[in-house]
């Protein structure tokens, strides 16, 4: 069986990897001159499940993905995996309501998820925090760029290979893993762009104490080689990857508003902008594309691409190879491209 994957970001590379794990070859076609040239090209990225108040088909998906990622990262070398933990600050009433219910309803053992009171959260963070936090000890960061490289270590791919028409590629099965570019082949899917910019700052003596990821409306990561990454802007109205100076200030402002003092003396030394894809209901689109022959899709992973692309890859492998599905039927239905009427 010949399998073609259109798009060489996380979604496509993870799929190539999961297929190879099942003993199945495939070829990735990437339009750009390198793998991971879009949103998957950041040098560092957080992985967290997407929280919601109830246990649901959507939360089950992120839980399964989190479990899968921890298992997979352990086996892959050279991806800058740092399971430093993440504190999700409970900085307002709305967050308190939601995150406390998440902890209760998701029912993860407290080894894996718990509420840390502000004094404990401060000890975990390495700096003083005035908020309680939802704490995920095994959360952390990887380099999405290196993760793509690790997924493709023994994989077959073509660069500078844009696909104009699916009929042009010789394969029995074709999978769209090219974000919003999938609209070229499946124009009816409600997938759209969200621009995001991350900012890199040089650590100060104070900020260098930060030991784990701190998440609020943005996020702040521990220094790596003396550099913190903070993010990220969220601009559904933009779809370009040019740097915007104001975005760095916005990222810094969000930090200063939540953790006043931490921003003092932090100097911007770099940034990267890219375009993620999202869907109308902000949940990924994974499965067989209606009315498009033997075509599947894995897209709209939004800000959760590290986890979501890997789980989606395993689901597609099951569908393609006709194996038992690795997710609950309700989650599979929630992901399906056929859910949009």
């Amino acid at each position: 069986m010949k399998i073609a994957i259109v798009g060489g970001g996380l979604a496509g590379c993870a799929l190539s990897y999961a297929l190879r794990q099942a003993g199945q070859d495939s070829v990735v076609y990437e339009a750009g001159s390198m793998l991971a040239s879009g949103a998957s090209g950041n040098t560092t990225g957080l992985y967290n499940p997407r929280f919601c108040a109830l246990r649901s088909p959507e939360s089950d998906y992120y839980t399964a993905a989190y479990s899968m990622a921890l298992r997979t990262f352990k086996m892959l070398g050279d991806i800058d995996w740092d399971p430093c933990g993440a504190l999700h600050l409970i900085s307002d009433e709305k967050k308190e309501k939601r995150l406390l219910r998440t902890v209760k309803n998701w029912a993860w053992d407290d080894v894996h998820m718990r509420i840390a009171r502000s004094d404990e959260a401060s000890a975990l963070a390495g700096i003083d925090l005035e908020y309680d936090a939802l704490y995920l000890p095994e959360s952390g960061s990887v380099s999405p760029e290196k993760l793509c490289g690790a997924y493709m270590r023994d994989g077959d791919f073509h660069l500078n290979a844009p696909v104009e028409k699916l009929e042009d590629i010789d394969a029995d099965i074709k999978i769209l893993t090219c974000g919003t570019a999938a609209l070229k082949f499946a124009p009816d899917l409600p997938i759209s762009s969200v621009r995001g910019q991350i900012t890199q700052v040089k650590a100060t003596q104070y900020s260098a104490d930060v030991k784990c990821n701190i998440c609020y409306d943005g996020y702040f990561m521990p220094a790596r080689d003396g550099v913190h990454t903070l993010g990220a802007t969220f601009q559904p109205w933009l779809d370009h990857s040019e740097v915007i100076e104001q975005d760095n200030q916005d990222n810094m402002l969000k930090l200063a508003q939540t953790l006043p003092g931490l921003e003092t003396g932090l100097k911007v030394i770099g940034q990267r902008a890219s375009v993620r894809a999202t869907s109308r209901d902000h949940f990924p689109v994974v499965g067989r594309v209606p009315k498009l022959g033997n075509a599947y899709i894995s897209a709209a992973h939004g800000s959760y691409g590290i986890l979501s692309s890997l789980m989606a890859a395993h689901l597609l492998v099951d569908m393609i190879l006709d194996r038992p599905l690795c997710l609950a039927a309700d989650s599979v239905a929630a992901l399906s491209p056929a859910r949009f009427k």
Binding site: A22, V111, A329
Partner: protein
């Protein structure tokens, strides 16, 4: 939530029932679930074989199946093993319980322990090799079995006896066994309780009693006959 009983046979505090006999749990597992399902013969006839187990416990049945599968099949043949567990053991507990068979399972046990998922509710796919996957589903079987999408070739109905764990032998479980089985799908279970036998028959299985392991009384094996639903 679990602990070893003083005599050495792993025992569930939840159900006050033993996982397997202290003298030879492995031989019992092979007798009940492999011999009982006509394995390895049945999986030798398929490119792709699917086992569904209710009650992962210590993983002994899975390890026995995995090892025997590799010994008795060709490189192109694959096994997907789906297993439900409402009260999963943690990795240290499993390592302790399977200590007696450490040298027998060698690399297989090591790999399972290395990749054993965190105890979070829901589905966990574990890729063990190009040929073998394990899918652990940490949930009540009554909630999660209706969520399973698979074509099952053999059922390992483990877990505890109906008198101590009646929920596991519910109408929901039997109905979903019908949904997921095809003509020729087999099953085995260590119990021969009337309630279980009747439930399986109403689910479309032809059921027969077989001599239990060692000095134990009867057990049940069965074959799916199609059935109307």
């Amino acid at each position: 939530m679990f602990g070893a009983s003083p005599k050495g046979a792993p025992k569930s505090k939840e159900f006050d029932d033993v996982y397997f006999s202290a003298d030879d749990g492995l031989a019992e597992s092979e007798y009940v679930f492999l011999d009982g399902n006509r394995l390895p013969r049945k999986w030798q006839q398929e490119d792709h074989f699917v086992i569904c187990e209710t009650g992962f416990g210590t993983g002994l049945n899975f390890l026995a199946a995995w090892k025997r599968f590799e010994e008795t099949t060709k490189p192109h043949q694959r096994l997907d093993f789906m297993s439900f567990e409402k009260y999963p053991l943690d990795v240290e507990e499993i390592a302790t319980h399977l200590q007696p068979w450490r040298s027998f399972f060698k690399g297989h046990l090591q790999k399972l322990l290395q990749l054993y998922p965190p105890l979070l509710p829901g589905f966990h796919r574990v890729v063990l090799s190009e040929r073998i996957t394990l899918t652990l589903i940490f949930d009540d079987v009554n909630v999660a079995l209706p969520q399973l999408e698979a074509r099952v070739d053999a059922w390992f109905l483990d877990g505890f006896k109906p008198s101590t764990n009646p929920e596991m032998w519910s109408e929901t479980v039997f109905q979903n066994m019908t949904r997921l089985s095809h003509e020729g799908t087999r099953l085995s279970t260590f119990t021969a309780a009337g309630q279980v036998r009747r439930g399986l028959e109403s689910a479309g299985f032809s059921v027969e009693k077989m001599q239990g392991y060692g000095r134990k009384r009867d057990m049940i094996i069965g074959r799916f006959m199609g059935g109307e639903s």
